[in-house]
C-alpha cells in the first residue's frame, strides 16, 4: 500500500474536521435563522393585526358611544323611559338593547325584559360598567363580547351617566355596528402592507370578506385559500395556508365580530434567513480557507520540512556517511531528536571502529597463518643446482584464496602447484588451507598425479557445503629427465619461456577441484629442456583491471615474459618482479581486485650425482642416500649380516619388516628440503641383533606417534601409522635419540 505523507494525511483530516465544523455551524445557523425568521414573522403579523384591530375597535367604540350619548341626552331631556318610550328610542336609533341602571347598579328599565332587575354586580362583563356609578368615569365602551347574562349572546355595550343618577346602557350586535363601520374597516386594509408583500384580510362572522386588497369583498374567505375554524385554531398563533397560490404564514384574531387575518408569504420570511445563511456561509468559507491554509503551511514548516531534513540526513547515514550530522534546531522536539540521532550515530561509530579494529587484528593473524602455511624461504633447496624456483602471492584483501606450494616427493621428483579458490577473503582462505593440505597429503602418499587429483577432488567435494571450487595447476617434475607430468584442474595455462621466447603451453583442461566428485583427471606432460623457465600464475595476473575496466590480458603477459631473464633463482625472481611491475603500471590507481599469485620454475638439467654409497669398509655398516629406491639394497645388507649370525628365519623376517618400515619412513620424511644419507649399522651377537639408523634430517621421533586403534572396523581404520606400530610390536626394544643434529633410531631383536 502506498504510504501517505504526513502533510497529506494532515490535510485530509483537517479538511474533514473543517467540513464537519462548517456543516454543523451551517445547520445550527439555518435552524436558528429559521426560528428567528418565524418569530419575526409572527411578531410582524401580530403587530399588523393588532393595529387593524385597534382601528376597528376605535371605529366601533366611537360609533356606539356617539349613539349612546345621543340617547342619554334624549333621556336627560325628558324622553319617556317607560317600555314604550324605550322601544321608540330603540327603533329610532336602530340599536339592539337599551337598559337604564339606577345608582345601586340594578336595571330598572329595559328593552329586553329578561334583564329587568339584573344586578350589574353579578358578572365580569356587566361589572365593568360600575365605574360609572362611583364617579370615576362618565362614559364607558366595551368591546364586542358575550354577555354575563347569556354567554351565547354577543353584544357590544356602551354606558353614559344620566343627569339624575344612574346611567343608560346601550348595546348593539355585530350586524348593526358593522353596517356603520364597514367603510372604515375596508379602508383599514387597503393601504396596509404586512412586510413587503403580505396583506390583511378581514372577514365578518360568516366568513364573508369585508376587506381585501384583491377586491374579493363579499365572497367567502375560502376564495383566498384561508380556512379558519375557531374551536381548533387558537388566535394569534401562526398557521400556514396557501393564499392566492403562495405559501404563506398567517395569523388571525376575532375582534368586534370580524376575522382579521394577516398574511405574510413564506418566501419573504425565508428570504431573510437565506440571505443571512448565505452571507455567513461565504464568510465561514473564507475564514476556514484562511485557517486551513495557515495550519497547513505551519505544519509543513514546523514538522514536515524538518522531518524531511532529518530523513535526508538519515539516508546519508544509511548510505554509510557516518560523519553526517542531523541539525534541525527550529524547535525543542526536533533539536532533541537531532541530538539523539547524532548520539546514536556516534555510539554506532565507536562500535564499528571497535569491531573494525578487532576484525583487522584477526585478519592480520589470519594473514600471518596463511603466509606461514606457504613455503616462503627462498631458495628452498640451496643445495640443488638442477632446478630453482621462486613464488609470490599478493592478496587483494588481507587473506586470499590463492596459493602456491612445492615440495620434494622424491629426491628427483618435485611437486609444484599454483591454485585459485573461487571467491576471496576469509571463506576462500579457509578453503585454500584445506585444498593445500589435501593436495599435499595425497601427493606425498606417492600416488600417481591423476590419482592425487581424483582423490584430492573427492576429498574436497566431501562436505563442500559452501559450493566453492579450486582451479589448480599441479606439476610433478622429474629433476633427472626434465619431464613435468601435470594435472590441470580448470587453471590458466602456464607460460614456457625458452630461449627468451614466451608461449602458453598447450594443455587440456579438466574440471576444477571440488566442483563435482568422481570426475576423472588426466595426467598430461611437458618436457623441459635445461635452461627452460616455467611460469605459473593465477587469473589475478591476466585479469588485473585498470581504471577503464580493461584487462591486463594474455598478450601483455607474453610480451613481458618474452625476454632474457638469465638462469637460476634470480631469473625466477626477475620474472615475478617484472610481471608484478607490469601489472602495477597497467592498473595505475585502480584497486587490486583479485589475488595475484605467481610461481616460476627454472630447470637447469640433471646435476652430477653427488650421492653415493659411502662404506666405511666394515662389513656391518652401510651409508646410502635416503631414497626408497635403495630399499632392496638396505634389506639385502641387513639380511647378509643376519644370515651370517645364524638368525632364525622368523626373527629375520620381522627384522626385515622393521628395517623396511624405518628406512622408508626416513626416505620419505627426514629430508624435506635437501637430500641426505642414512647410515645403517647392524651388530649381531649370540643373543640377538641390533640395527641402528642415523640420519641428519628434520628431528622426528617416530615413537611419539600414537599407536593406531587396531580394534576399529575396516571402514574406520586409518590407512597409515601401521609401520612404526609393527616395529614396536615385533622388536624387543626400540629407542630414539636426537644427538648432534642426527636422528638415531635403534632396534633390538633377541634370538
Amino acid at each position: 500500500m502506498q504510504k501517505r505523507t504526513i502533510s497529506g494525511t494532515f490535510l485530509r483530516w483537517l479538511f474533514l474536521i473543517v467540513s464537519v465544523a462548517f456543516a454543523v455551524s451551517m445547520v445550527y445557523l439555518w435552524t436558528l435563522q429559521t426560528r428567528l425568521s418565524q418569530r419575526n414573522a409572527a411578531n410582524l403579523l401580530r403587530l399588523n393585526i393588532q393595529d387593524v384591530r385597534q382601528d376597528v375597535i376605535d371605529a366601533s367604540d366611537a360609533n356606539l358611544l356617539s349613539l349612546t350619548r345621543t340617547i342619554a341626552a334624549e333621556i336627560d331631556n325628558g324622553a319617556a323611559t317607560d317600555d314604550a318610550g324605550l322601544a321608540s328610542l330603540l327603533a329610532h336609533y336602530d340599536v339592539s338593547e337599551i337598559n337604564l341602571v339606577n345608582a345601586e347598579g340594578i336595571i330598572y328599565a329595559t328593552t329586553h325584559l329578561e334583564f329587568l332587575n339584573f344586578d350589574m354586580h353579578s358578572g365580569r362583563q356587566s361589572g365593568e360598567f360600575l365605574g360609572l356609578l362611583n364617579g370615576s368615569a362618565t362614559e364607558y365602551v366595551q368591546k364586542y363580547q358575550p354577555t354575563t347574562y347569556d354567554p351565547t349572546l354577543y353584544r357590544k355595550y356602551a354606558g353614559v351617566c344620566l343627569a339624575n343618577g344612574g346611567f343608560v346602557e346601550v348595546a348593539y350586535d355585530a350586524d348593526r355596528f358593522q353596517d356603520d363601520i364597514d367603510h372604515i374597516v375596508v379602508g383599514a386594509t387597503h393601504n396596509r402592507h404586512v412586510g413587503e408583500n403580505g396583506c390583511i384580510i378581514i372577514a365578518d362572522e360568516d366568513w364573508n370578506i369585508v376587506s381585501d386588497r384583491k377586491n374579493n369583498e363579499g365572497q367567502n374567505l375560502s376564495v383566498t385559500g384561508i380556512w379558519i375554524d375557531r374551536p381548533t385554531m387558537p388566535e394569534e398563533v401562526v398557521f400556514h395556508a396557501t393564499v392566492y397560490g403562495d405559501a404563506c404564514s398567517c395569523m388571525y384574531v376575532f375582534s368586534e365580530g370580524y376575522y382579521i387575518v394577516a398574511v405574510l408569504p413564506e418566501n419573504e420570511i425565508l428570504l431573510q434567513r437565506d440571505t443571512s445563511v448565505r452571507l455567513t456561509a461565504v464568510l465561514e468559507v473564507l475564514v476556514f480557507l484562511t485557517l486551513f491554509a495557515a495550519i497547513y503551511l505551519l505544519v509543513r514548516k514546523l514538522v514536515v520540512n524538518n522531518i524531511n531534513k532529518v530523513n535526508h540526513s538519515l539516508s546519508k547515514i544509511t548510505d554509510g556517511d557516518l560523519e553526517e550530522r542531523v541539525d534541525v534546531r527550529s524547535n525543542t522536539e526536533f533539536a532533541s531528536l537531532s541530538d539523539d540521532i547524532n548520539a546514536t550515530v556516534s555510539t554506532l561509530k565507536q562500535y564499528i571502529a571497535a569491531a573494525a579494529a578487532r576484525i583487522d587484528q584477526e585478519l592480520a593473524f589470519a594473514k600471518n597463518i596463511q603466509q606461514s602455511a606457504l613455503p616462503s624461504v627462498f631458495p628452498p633447496y640451496p643445495d640443488r643446482t638442477d632446478f630453482s624456483l621462486y613464488a609470490t602471492m599478493d592478496t587483494a584483501k588481507e587473506v586470499g584464496g590463492d596459493f602456491y606450494d612445492f615440495y620434494l616427493l622424491e629426491d628427483n621428483e618435485l611437486a609444484f602447484l599454483v591454485a585459485d579458490v573461487s571467491g576471496k577473503g576469509i571463506p576462500a582462505a579457509m578453503f585454500m588451507m584445506t585444498g593445500k593440505t589435501v593436495l599435499r597429503d595425497y601427493a606425498e602418499r606417492g600416488d600417481a598425479p591423476a590419482d592425487v587429483a581424483v582423490n584430492a577432488n573427492d576429498k574436497l567435494c566431501d562436505g563442500n557445503d559452501a559450493e566453492m571450487f579450486i582451479t589448480a595447476w599441479t606439476g610433478f617434475l622429474n629433476t633427472d629427465t626434465g619431464l613435468v607430468r601435470f594435472i590441470n584442474a580448470g587453471h590458466n595455462p602456464p607460460v614456457l619461456i625458452r630461449d627468451g621466447k614466451a608461449s602458453f603451453i598447450t594443455q587440456k583442461t579438466n574440471l576444477a577441484f571440488a566442483a563435482m566428485d568422481g570426475v576423472p583427471y588426466r595426467e598430461q606432460s611437458l618436457q623441459l629442456e635445461p635452461g627452460d623457465l616455467l611460469f605459473l600464475y593465477t587469473d589475478g595476473v591476466t585479469e588485473a583491471t585498470d581504471a577503464s575496466e580493461a584487462l591486463f590480458g594474455n598478450d601483455r603477459l607474453l610480451t613481458v615474459l618474452s625476454s632474457e631473464f638469465g638462469a637460476g633463482e634470480d631469473a625466477c625472481r626477475n620474472i615475478c618482479g617484472s610481471v608484478k611491475k607490469a601489472i602495477d603500471d597497467f592498473v595505475g590507481d585502480a584497486p587490486q581486485f583479485d589475488d595475484i599469485t605467481m610461481l616460476c620454475l627454472y630447470y637447469a638439467g640433471p646435476e652430477a650425482d653427488g650421492a653415493a654409497n659411502v662404506s666405511d669398509g666394515t662389513t656391518k655398516k652401510l651409508s646410502v642416500p635416503a631414497d626408497t629406491g635403495n630399499l632392496e639394497q638396505v634389506v639385502a645388507f641387513v639380511d647378509e649380516q643376519l644370515t651370517s649370525a645364524d638368525c632364525p628365519q622368523k626373527a629375520q623376517s620381522q627384522i626385515d619388516v622393521a628395517v623396511e618400515e624405518i628406512f622408508v619412513n626416513i626416505a620419505n620424511y627426514a629430508y624435506d628440503s635437501e637430500p641426505g644419507d642414512v647410515d645403517i649399522s647392524v651388530s649381531t651377537d649370540e643373543l640377538g641383533a641390533t640395527v641402528e639408523f642415523r640420519d641428519a634430517g628434520v628431528p622426528f621421533d617416530p615413537l611419539q606417534k600414537e599407536d593406531p586403534d587396531i580394534t576399529l572396523s575396516a571402514e574406520k581404520r586409518p590407512i597409515g601409522g601401521l609401520g612404526i606400530f609393527m616395529v614396536k610390536k615385533t622388536m624387543d626394544s626400540v629407542d630414539y635419540r636426537y644427538i648432534d643434529g642426527q636422528n638415531i633410531l635403534t632396534i633390538r631383536k633377541s634370538f
Binding site: T711, A714, F725, M726
Partner: protein, 98 residues
C-alpha cells in the same frame, strides 16, 4: 613379486608370489585398480607370500574398503608368519581370512 589373475564372471582370483613390501605394493595396487571394476568376489591367494610390510597392509586395507562397497574379499592360504603380522596389527579381525 609375481601376480597372476584369473577372472570368472564377476569373481577375480589373484595369486601372489614373493614379497609384498614398499617397492612391490604399487605393482599390486596398479593391478587391482585396473581389474576391480565390477568385481563382487575377490580372492587373494597368499600361499606364496612370505613377507608383508605396512605398505602391503595399507594396500590390503584400502582394497578391503573398496570391496566392501561392491562385494566380498577373502584371503586364502595365509602363511603363519604372515598371519602373525595380521594378528599383531589387528588385521586378522578386519580381513576375511580362510
Amino acid at each position: 613379486m609375481n601376480i597372476s589373475t584369473t577372472k570368472q564372471n564377476q569373481a577375480l582370483t589373484i595369486i601372489l608370489e614373493g614379497r609384498l613390501d614398499y617397492n612391490t605394493s604399487p605393482q599390486l595396487d596398479g593391478v587391482l585398480r585396473d581389474s576391480l571394476d565390477g568385481i563382487t568376489d575377490l580372492t587373494i591367494d597368499m600361499d606364496s607370500i612370505t613377507y608383508i610390510s605396512s605398505a602391503g597392509l595399507r594396500l590390503l586395507l584400502s582394497t578391503q574398503k573398496t570391496m566392501k562397497k561392491q562385494g566380498v574379499m577373502r584371503l586364502i592360504n595365509v602363511r603363519p608368519e604372515i598371519m602373525e603380522i595380521f594378528e599383531i596389527t589387528g588385521f586378522s579381525e578386519i580381513l576375511n581370512i580362510e
